[in-house]
């Protein structure tokens, strides 16, 4: 067992290792060298003086932000002798389930490929490259024939897999008792209940001001809103990533949100970021991938049909096509329970087949994937910026929504938490829905998998995602799902079929997210 100080030094070593050789590192070195020319530097106090100057010029803050970002994606400390797969996912049954799921998806992708006779990847002829370059900003005007493509999987397929999860160490009887799980998820994970969450989310409590509640029309702005905006501006000026994250817990003002999120995610405007994006774009132009068609289809089916997001269709292609080719994304598989899929591709010489990661970023898109990007188009319209923000959000949070793991923000935990909250606090409703064959998770799953994107109105969705970023966790998504059921409980008690339950919950566009969360977390009797 490692003690705390050893853990800390291991973490420090890891972070230093990761930051070495980055653009920030070279910039810091350059800045430090330039400091040497300054008259106020004295040889005796060289180290302290340079440090002081770096602090004053804001460079220390940048380093702090970078370290803070690394902490977000640092895998949890494990035993030095544990194999690396344990770092990705400690529970064996989860690992096995994920592996078998991956095999299924990959098989589906490969069979689509052979059925349609389309190569997984091909080099585009020069004329096609030219055409694509010209049309880069309006790919949405293309109407390719996508009828033969099917999404590799849809959320409901994934749900069936999760329902089938079993922990063989646990002997469960099939009887329905008060202590068993009434829901679909039949594994036990440690999920939090309301009293515990009240301690984790105090800023959502009744005594704290919130954007989404206290900026309402009839609340005088000087009670909370004006002050909050002033603080927000300060945070942006200070360029402090940790402060931005803390601030975001009470919501980001619309006019400051874009800047605050880039701070929290530590996505910068460095030239290397733009260059990286341009390189990805070049890869898209040179090679076409089979998954490109899946992306087109997904965008056309989901975002293009959305009342709010249809406008951003072109941006979605520009982001998702590049995303598929970004091998930097592979890094997140260090802490993702999933493993990047490998496919056999003809090698250059054409004689052998070799297994390569496909798609290059290791992420096979599914139906609805583009909805992770769509709300971000509201905040960012510069492609490289939009891209960096999306990628960071994906590798920090969204990937957990479609891989099987025991992580508290993983989809399994979220589903279980949703069901447990319902069972504990709305037992009558849960029981009724069960009896009529309308398991709540069947309705709520699609909301959870997409973190409510496309189901809430945009301004409400952004308020929710403020809190995801603020607390660094997706738990709030499960809580909101339960809160929605609580809100519509009266109507749901009257329905007599799954279809009518779906109808009651079909339209969430009028919901106000923060009051629902606040009431559920802080006004439910426990």
């Amino acid at each position: 067992m490692m003690d705390e100080s050893t853990e800390l030094s291991v973490s420090i070593t890891q972070i230093v290792q990761r930051l070495k050789g980055t653009h920030l590192h070279s910039q810091l070195e350059k800045q430090a060298k330039e400091c040497m020319h300054k008259p106020e530097i004295k040889l005796e106090t060289l180290k302290d003086d340079v440090r002081r100057l770096l602090k004053e010029s804001g460079w220390e803050r940048k380093l702090q932000n970078a370290v803070y970002r690394e902490l977000h994606i640092l895998p949890p400390p494990g035993h030095p002798r544990a194999p690396p797969e344990h770092a990705k996912e400690p529970l064996e049954y989860m690992r096995k389930a994920q592996v078998s799921w991956e095999k299924r998806i990959l098989k589906s992708l490969n069979s689509m490929c052979s059925e349609l006779g389309i190569p997984l990847a091909r080099k585009r002829p020069v004329s096609e490259q030219k055409e694509l370059t010209n049309k880069w900003n309006e790919m949405g005007t293309d109407e390719p024939d996508l009828s033969k493509f099917r999404p590799v999987y849809a959320p409901k397929d994934f749900l069936e897999v999760l329902i089938g999860l079993r922990n063989l160490n646990n002997d469960r009887s099939e009887d329905l008792t008060v202590r068993s799980n009434w829901g679909l998820i039949q594994v036990s994970l440690n999920v939090r209940d309301i009293p515990q969450m009240r301690e984790t989310y105090p800023e959502l409590g009744l005594t704290y001001g919130q954007l989404g509640i206290d900026d309402h029309t009839h609340v005088p702005p000087d009670l909370f809103e004006s002050e909050h905006i002033v603080i927000g501006k300060k945070v942006v000026n200070e360029q402090d990533s940790a402060a931005a994250q803390q601030y975001s817990r009470q919501g980001c003002p619309t006019g400051l949100r874009a800047q605050l999120w880039t701070l929290i995610l530590n996505t910068t405007d460095d030239p290397e970021v733009i260059t990286h994006y341009e390189q990805l774009k070049a890869r898209v132009i040179h090679h076409g991938l089979l998954v490109d068609n899946l992306i087109y289809k997904d965008v056309k089916l989901t975002a293009s049909n959305d009342d709010y997001y249809f406008v951003f269709e072109d941006y979605l292609y520009q982001v998702l096509l590049c995303f598929s080719r970004d091998t930097a994304v592979l890094e997140h598989f260090n802490y993702n329970s999933a493993t990047p899929p490998k496919s056999c591709v003809q090698s250059k010489s054409g004689s052998e087949q070799c297994a390569v990661v496909y798609p290059p970023n290791g992420v096979i898109p599914f139906h609805g994937f583009s909805m992770y990007v769509a709300p971000l188009c509201f905040l960012y319209n510069e492609p490289s910026k939009l891209y960096s923000v999306f990628r960071e959000m994906y590798i920090r949070y969204f990937f957990r929504l479609h891989s099987i793991s025991s992580h508290p923000s993983g989809i399994v935990s979220l589903c279980l938490q949703f069901e447990r909250l319902l069972q504990t606090h709305l037992p009558q409703l849960f029981y009724h829905l069960r009896e009529i064959g309308a398991q709540p998770l069947r309705i709520a799953f699609k909301w959870i998998v997409r973190a409510f994107s496309g189901y809430l109105s945009t301004d409400q969705l952004l308020l929710l995602w403020d809190r995801i970023l603020g607390y660094g966790s997706l738990e709030i998504v499960a809580v909101l799902a339960a809160a929605v059921f609580a809100f519509r409980a009266e109507n749901l008690m009257e329905v007599t079929s799954l279809a009518s339950a779906e109808a009651v919950l079909a339209d969430l566009s009028t919901l106000k997210v923060m009051p629902l969360l606040q009431i559920f977390l802080f006004a439910t009797s426990v």
Binding site: P221, T254, L256, N305, D307, Y308, V311, Y315, T458, D459
Partner: protein, 442 residues
Amino acid sequence: MRWLVSDMSKNKQTAGHKGAYISQRKKEGEVRNCIRYRCGLTNTIQDVLIQRPGWVEVKEEGDWDFNWCDVGWLRENFDHSYMEEHVRICHFRNHYELTRKNLMVKNLKRYRKNVEREAGRLEAAKCDFFPRTFELPSEYHIFVEEFKRSPGSTWIMKPVARSQGKGIFLFRKLKDIIDWRKDGTRSEEQRDEAQVESYVAQRYIENPYLIAGRKFDLRVYVLVTSYIPLKAWLYRDGFARFSNTRFSLNSIDDQYVHLTNVAVQKTAPDYDPEKGCKWQMQQLRCYLTAKHGFETVQTLFKEIDNIFIRSLLSVQKTIINDKHCFELYGYDILLDQDLKPWLIEVNASPSLTASSQEDYELKYRLLEDTLHIVDMEGRLTGKEKRVGGFDLMWNDGPVYTDVGLEAMGCSCLVANTHLGCVNDRQKQLQQLLKPFPGQKRA
């Protein structure tokens, strides 16, 4: 998409004969029992009227208290109708002073000159919200002068009286319009029509504000209940209409790119009715605020208010004021890349046909609140600054909200308009209005 069809209310009196009951408006404060209406349109307004408690449709030659007519009916019948004091009709006699493009421009130009004379250049500059416009054929020569002064610029030709984007085209060379006038491919009648019909040539805004590469314009609703004194209300809801294709100046022949009317977009080859090309005003305001910050957008919306007020002031003395008349205008506003708003046109009969469920609900609310303000039932005091989704924008002078910004250290006056803001009309109406006679408070 299907939307609800209105129920016929069950307990309706059927009236149809003249003088069967007292129809005079009762003294101030008393409530009318039954309001007879005529409706010349078969869209959302019909549903709103049918569902209003105590309102009864009269057909044919019956007396009416309220008439939602189309401008054609108005033209033919207004001058011959005697209207008792309480009667209301939804158009002003000569609304075209504001809504016909050539007359609007003439009135605006004259107004601007007056402002410059009385208040100076700076004040007059606030009237520069419409692009350089010339009436053809009467102003052809000054138009040519202006045209030659800005070579390479794009102009748009619009027929004065048509709507829904008909007859509009873009041009860059004088040759194009000369050819058009002499166009041998057009039929005799078309050419004759063109001779008789007036057109305006207007400087085309070549740098519109684009969202995701698409051009859009704004449809905003303004209700005028009186011109002298001027009393105007601004509706919080509205929408942005997107062009279905990406904006580019290369294809000025492609009217689908440039014209954002839903009517035109509907005929475009890639139009998908399920897709919808509108954003609610709240959506747009949110987007712009996220992009440009709160203060910039505040300023923009103030400038948009300015357009409404000044355009109405410019025709204040020309429009025949009549206490029977009110009018719901649909303003079309375009933003350019510098976030300057431009007035494109004013519609006296904005489309009330719904293109989707959401659109239906917006128009339903809009019309319901319009009828609340017209107040045939006598429920308002006349001192209200807000009724449902309408905010009183101008009442013989600017109108300010009741809440000042004392917290900011100064008691600045804040304009009482909330375009694109939250429209919590249900709540406001519940607090404001007494229920209809015979109706329980909801």
